[in-house]
């Protein structure tokens, strides 16, 4: 077997990928790996269903009661499901050394982490967004409120994943970090929770929900622009 060097070892800069291609490559791989670990992904979806089953059992199955609590309860269930799935986001990559390899590449780390977080949201967040309206029917939410609920979750759950990624990055190297993660990241997620629940409440009452929905969109934009830098700094600390 002979070994040929790929380029003069005293090297010239190799061709580096454009940002979009990099994003797509990381996204594709994380989706590929994530699909294989589907038991992890389904955990958060199952938890979402479980929480929503608990409230009627513990409170009351009456339609008026359920309809009234539905916006808040469904949003809480979505938030808890996100918190549950977050610790997986960077842990495996840190443990098997992938993260270190990515750190040593000439690519912006924040961009790579954004692709990873998107992959994570696609696997754990989209099932929640899809199931929410179905389960909301069991809470007797009318159709008008269902659309707003789904749309608010669509805007809000990516923000939750992004905010959570900071906590996941900070705790990636720690043992038994789940509760700590929830504590760190929980307060940051509160505005999203309040806006999402409020938007649905307004729709339920027949009023205009666009105010909170716009704010949710604004928070998402803010998160996408700011979080990658913080998560990148946090990952460098965890990989130390």
């Amino acid at each position: 077997m002979s070994v040929t060097p790929s380029s003069p070892a005293q090297q010239a800069p190799a061709a580096t990928l454009g940002l979009m291609t990099l994003f797509a490559a990381v996204l594709k791989r994380d989706l590929h790996v994530g699909m294989r670990r589907w038991t992890d992904a389904s955990n958060s979806a199952l938890f979402f269903i479980l929480v929503l089953a608990l409230f009627p059992l513990a409170l009351s199955p009456k339609a008026e009661v359920l309809r009234m609590i539905a916006p808040g309860v469904i949003w809480i269930a979505a938030l808890l499901a996100t918190l549950l799935s977050l610790h997986l986001l960077f842990r495996a990559d840190l443990e098997d050394g992938t993260l270190e390899q990515l750190l040593m590449l000439p690519y912006p780390l924040g961009w790579i982490l954004l692709a990873k977080t998107l992959a994570h949201w696609i696997i754990t967040g989209i099932p929640v967004v899809v199931m929410a309206p179905i389960l909301a029917v069991t809470y007797h939410l009318p159709a008008s409120a269902l659309t707003v609920l789904t749309f608010s979750l669509l805007l809000g759950t990516p923000t939750l994943s992004l905010l959570g990624s900071i906590g996941a990055a900070l705790t990636a190297g720690l043992r038994s970090a789940s509760v700590l993660l929830a504590f760190i990241v929980g307060p940051l997620m509160l505005p999203v929770l309040m806006l999402g629940a409020r938007a649905t409440d307004l729709a339920l009452a027949g009023e205009d929900p666009t105010g909170p929905l716009y704010l949710l969109g604004a928070l998402l934009m803010l998160a996408v622009s700011v979080v990658p830098f913080m998560a990148a700094a946090a990952i460098r600390v965890s990989a130390d």
């Binding site: 705790t171 970090a177 760190i184 307060p187 505005p191 600390v237 130390d240």
Partner: protein
């Protein structure tokens, strides 16, 4: 001029300086507390709506103000430590956390005590108290994260990042909570909005705020001394200090 700044950042110099500083801060703090308490409890007239119950603001408002100011200080110190890699800044941030959490707790308790005569219960989800509760969680998250790292350097940097994320969020959370409370037309704890607070009531409040701030700085100086000593325990200057202290206590 910058040599002064970097000299300050050197642990043994800071240790010595903070020692004198804390005395100079705590004594005036105690005096001002006395003055403020006298002004607030004795001199200020009872409120036309709340009677004497409003007087709790002389402890509640300074505590709440400090709980937020300390969080910002903690985040700022962490940022300085992170960007310029000054170890002392991290020691300051670490020392701030328990003090800030205590003030937050004090604000919550005094808020509940104030609530009883006003609302009849110890807790209503008033926007100020709810914000304070969330701030308490932020402090606990910070301290929890710190404690979870074995490596001190990692703990310093990770908690600095968390504090910065928190500081960016605190205004967002604060306004969200106010907006949420306004929707539900709940009761609010306030003497200060209105109509307008009279000077008789105001000056003791400002005195107490100043007193609490000096107290915080004095206690912070003491804590940072201890923190710095612990971090540098292996170094010569720290060994000298400890040996000196032991010798003094034996005498």
């Amino acid at each position: 001029m910058w040599t002064w700044f970097f000299r300050l950042a050197s642990p043994p110099h800071f240790y010595a300086l903070a020692g004198t500083l804390s005395n100079w801060l705590l004594v005036p703090a105690l005096i001002l507390v006395g003055v403020g308490v006298w002004g607030g409890l004795v001199l200020a007239p009872p409120d036309y709506q709340q009677g004497d119950a409003f007087r709790i603001i002389y402890v509640h408002v300074p505590s709440a103000y400090l709980s937020m100011m300390i969080y910002v200080t903690m985040a700022l110190a962490g940022a300085i430590g992170l960007i310029w890699r000054i170890k002392l800044a991290h020691a300051v941030a670490a020392s701030c956390a328990p003090i800030g959490a205590s003030f937050t707790f004090a604000a919550l308790v005094t808020g509940a005590v104030w609530g009883k005569p006003m609302w009849g219960t110890y807790w209503e989800w008033d926007p100020r108290l709810t914000s304070e509760l969330i701030l308490l969680f932020l402090y606990f998250g910070y301290m929890g994260l710190r404690g979870a790292f074995e490596n001190l350097n990692q703990a310093d940097r990770a908690s600095a990042i968390l504090a910065i994320a928190g500081v960016v969020n605190v205004p967002i959370i604060h306004f969200s909570v106010i907006w949420w409370a306004s929707l539900h037309q709940g009761p609010t704890l306030s003497k200060l909005e209105a109509p307008s607070i009279s000077w008789d009531m105001l000056w003791p409040l400002l005195t107490m705020i100043l007193a609490f701030t000096l107290f915080f700085l004095g206690v912070l100086a003491m804590r940072v001394r201890g923190e710095v000593l612990e971090r540098e325990v292996q170094s010569r200057w720290a060994q000298d200090v400890l040996r000196g202290a032991t010798a003094a206590s034996i005498r």
